[in-house]
């Protein structure tokens, strides 16, 4: 606080400066930036479509037949499939995290702000859900309602909001003692308005940190389902389905396993490093 006042810097400028000083986080940002750009525009630059079947190129080795990373058993270009798979995985990660963000913040802020019996009951529910093997529920959902991309976003998002709710509740409990909330109440704002206008904007720091750490978790969950054959449907693909196919083909064409694994690890690693970096940058404890 004192530092911010002396330098005339806001919390966010300060955090950004600290984040840029963290080598691992910067490396993570660069890697993630490259991956995102590649996933977004890469597929349009390639001569092959991710679902174009080329009879003559089946199991093509990398750098043969014009395929930079080779081709799969149907002769589909691996690089094109990898970029589309990355796009799907990142997309699932962002959308499902958004679902978990909305539920978690609303739940945690309500419980923390209203407090008392309601808080007790709401957090008990979180505790209960916390102790369940949620992957099994997602699989049960996918079994029962069929493989559906939208449902998968919702299902994964709906089971990953618990930690978010806990973090938000803790922050809210601290925030509601502060003077500006008192002032808002004195000014006659309704409870809902106080929660949405004053509490939630101030929760941004910890929420941003946790969001960056939720995305890799969600990507893993989606790939987990795809690996088991319960994820996205062919010809669409995701990093998990590509690893799953690579797993079947590894004796003949190990690169079909290795390339998706590398992209997966790079993505998860980058996100984890950014998340850790943000936590260090925004956590006032270490100042």
């Amino acid at each position: 606080m004192a530092e911010a006042a002396a330098g005339g810097r806001s919390l966010w400028e300060d955090a950004l400066r600290r984040l840029m000083g963290n080598k691992a986080a910067v490396a993570g940002l660069v890697v993630l930036g490259v991956l995102v750009v590649a996933a977004l525009i890469g597929p349009y630059l390639l001569p092959f479509s991710y679902d174009a079947i080329n009879k003559d190129d089946t199991w093509a080795d990398p750098l043969t037949h014009g395929h930079l990373l080779g081709a799969d058993p149907l002769g589909r270009d691996l690089l094109a499939r990898l970029l589309v798979g990355l796009r799907v995985s990142l997309g699932v990660g962002i959308i499902a995290t958004f679902v978990s963000l909305v539920i978690g913040v609303a739940w945690g802020a309500t419980a923390g702000f209203i407090g008392g019996k309601l808080d007790e009951a709401m957090m008990r529910i979180v505790d209960v859900l916390y102790s369940l093997p949620y992957m099994f529920f997602v699989i049960l959902l996918m079994t029962v309602f069929g493989r559906n991309l939208v449902l998968m976003f919702v299902a994964i998002g709906a089971v990953s909001w618990l930690t978010m709710a806990r973090i938000v509740r803790g922050q809210t409990l601290a925030l509601k003692q502060r003077e500006f909330v008192e002032a808002a109440r004195a000014a006659g704002l309704s409870q809902g308005a106080i929660i949405f206008r004053h509490i939630i904007p101030n929760l941004l720091g910890p929420v941003v940190v946790y969001v960056t750490l939720t995305i890799p978790g969600v990507i893993m969950a989606e790939s987990f389902l795809s690996f088991l054959g319960l994820g996205v449907q062919e010809p669409l693909t995701s990093l998990g389905s590509l690893i799953s196919i690579g797993n079947d083909e590894m004796d003949l064409s190990p690169w079909m396993l290795i390339f998706p694994c590398v992209v997966m690890v790079l993505t998860l690693g980058a996100l984890n490093f950014i998340g850790d970096g943000l936590r260090d940058a925004l956590d006032p404890k270490d100042r």
């Binding site: 049960l140 309602f145 790939s223 054959g229 690579g246 690693g269």
Partner: protein, 313 residues
């Protein structure tokens, strides 16, 4: 203590009830039926099959029958394997799952504590960095990446271990054990990474605590200080990690059992899910939810027993 146990049971029982209810209604909401095969059944036959499994009764009655059955330890028949009950299928898979999961858990605990202690005692030196790098890798590389890569390197290319399978009778002990190495490694590594991190931070805190300083002032040898005094305090947080660790291993077993063709519950679960064998899927979900609830309860009790500062109220 008794009151605490009672209170926790009061929340654990409704939780399990909730799980059973959610699983039941999800299953009934499913479009299609497990009897949709290649051939369409004649309407009379279908009616008979539905009647056999009680699927023609009102939903409420079916629900009560199912809950009553679960209370008596009866999870109903498998819908795909006509001559087996869900419980028989679970019983068939349990030994393999328990063996792999238990050994993975042992590896994760012993290995993780060892690495964590080494890292804490060599803080900010190469050994510490090596352990922490391993921990970060272990946490952000998922099992479905490590499993195929380890198979590719250790089994396919180097030929050190079998790629998949389960020991059958008549093999030498080392041959039989070689089937277990990769599954246990893949399952145990992520948990080992987390445990080594937890142990390291616990150990660093303990080594700077007053009781360790006292022990040192009394002139005790370093290994006694580390093993007898510091480690005891440092591994306390691990007890509350017991529940999540088991949940992680159980979830990982879905991948590992599928990947290595092990005859365990995880593989039946995935196969049943793909075949829409609802009763088996539900049975496994309920069983594992119950297992994790019980383990969390044990962890809480153990924590209180080990740490007199914790008051159970």
């Amino acid at each position: 203590m008794i009151r605490f146990l009672f209170r926790r049971l009061l929340t654990a029982i409704p939780t399990l009830f909730l799980v059973v209810t959610a699983a039941f209604f999800m299953m009934r909401a499913a479009p299609g039926s497990p009897f949709d095969g290649q051939r369409r059944l004649a309407p009379e036959v279908e009616r008979n099959v539905m009647a056999k499994y009680g699927l023609n009764k009102p939903l409420g009655e079916q629900y009560l029958t199912y809950v009553g059955g679960v209370l008596h330890g009866d999870f109903g028949p498998s819908l795909k394997y006509k001559d087996k009950t869900v419980l028989q299928m679970i019983g068939q898979g349990f030994p393999a799952s328990l063996m792999i999961g238990g050994l993975a858990m042992a590896l994760a605990t012993v290995g993780g504590i060892f690495l964590g202690v080494v890292a804490a005692l060599r803080r900010n030196r190469p050994a510490d960095y090596a352990v922490m790098t391993f921990a970060i890798l272990g946490i952000c590389i998922p099992t479905f990446v490590t499993a195929p890569l380890l198979v590719l390197i250790l089994a396919s290319k180097l030929g050190l271990l079998p790629t998949a399978g389960w020991p059958i009778g008549g093999q030498s002990l080392t041959d039989a054990a070689s089937y277990l190495v990769l599954p246990i490694l893949v399952l145990g590594l992520p948990e080992m990474a987390v445990i080594s991190r937890l142990t390291r931070s616990g150990m660093i805190e303990a080594m700077s605590s007053n009781y360790v300083r006292t022990a040192r002032a009394r002139g005790l040898p370093e290994h006694v200080i580390v093993l007898r005094h510091a480690l005891r305090g440092a591994i306390l947080p691990l007890v509350s990690y017991l529940g999540p660790a088991v949940a992680g291993i159980v979830t990982g077993s879905l991948i590992v059992e599928q990947m290595f063709q092990l005859p365990g519950i995880g593989r039946y679960f995935v196969t049943s899910a793909l075949q829409r064998d609802y009763t088996v899927v539900m049975g496994v979900v309920i069983l594992y939810a119950g297992l994790i609830l019980v383990l969390n309860l044990i962890a809480d009790l153990l924590y209180a027993a080990l740490d007199p500062r914790v008051r159970l109220s």
